[in-house]
């Protein structure tokens, strides 16, 4: 099991190789990439930032939970920070397990918990030159609406 928050391009094939062992009958790589549109607005790139020390700890805790819950030590997660272009990988989760069901579930667990808990933020840059922090909860709009 290994996790990292990094500032260099991610290499899904290297992570897949890292979790592959002959005891495992299934290996899954999830790659999250920068999409060209969000909420109908054309995106030109995304800038990721983090509370780095806590992000590292939280990501590690999630991978540990997944390893315990789904009984496999073969989980590697990397999240990238900095300026990413369209199509660039922002997160890679590699999981291997003797059986495919648990491999899929562990991979899903890691990405869903990561999106809920890891203190990483993204600022989308739009093709019209504007940029905005992404707020999946809509809290910012709530704050603006306060009297």
């Amino acid at each position: 099991m290994r996790t990292a928050v990094v500032e260099h391009p991610l290499d899904p094939a290297a992570l897949l190789a890292e979790v592959s062992r002959s005891a495992n009958g299934a290996a899954i790589v999830f790659v999250g990439t920068v999409r060209d549109v969000n909420d109908g607005r054309p995106v030109s790139g995304i800038e990721y930032s983090a509370y780095s020390s806590m992000a590292g700890r939280e990501l590690d805790a999630i991978a540990r939970e997944a390893a315990a819950k789904f009984a496999t030590p073969d989980i590697v997660v990397e999240h990238r920070l900095g300026a990413l272009a369209l199509g660039d990988a922002s997160v890679v989760i590699a999981v291997a397990h003797p059986h495919r069901g648990e491999a899929y579930e562990a991979s899903r667990y890691v990405i869903e918990q990561l999106k809920r808990r890891v203190p990483i933020w993204k600022r989308e840059h739009y093709t019209d030159g504007t940029r905005e922090w992404v707020d999946p909860t809509g809290q910012a709009r709530l704050a603006e609406a306060r009297p």
Partner: protein, 79 residues
């Protein structure tokens, strides 16, 4: 007690990357949020933002000690 609060993303845009607050004795996480919200730029914060103490999410009744690392966490958007 003086508490230094770390801020990130949209909260840092509004309030700066860190803010020093002068709070009473035995302040709680709730006192930090109240202190930040009363600043001129505090309107950028939602009513109950997430707060981390020493890099773990903390509840609002959590008591702070001198030297604790306190951070207010905007809605996360990793992945």
């Amino acid at each position: 007690m003086t508490v230094t609060v770390l801020l990130f993303a949209s909260y840092a845009d509004a309030l700066g990357p860190s803010v020093e607050l002068e709070l009473g004795e035995e302040p709680t996480v709730a006192d930090v949020v109240t202190g930040l919200s009363s600043l001129p730029a505090g309107r950028a914060l939602p009513p109950r933002p997430l707060v981390a103490v020493n890099q773990s999410y903390a509840t609002y009744d959590h008591l702070l000690r001198a030297g604790d690392e306190v951070a207010v966490i905007p809605p996360v958007a990793g992945g």
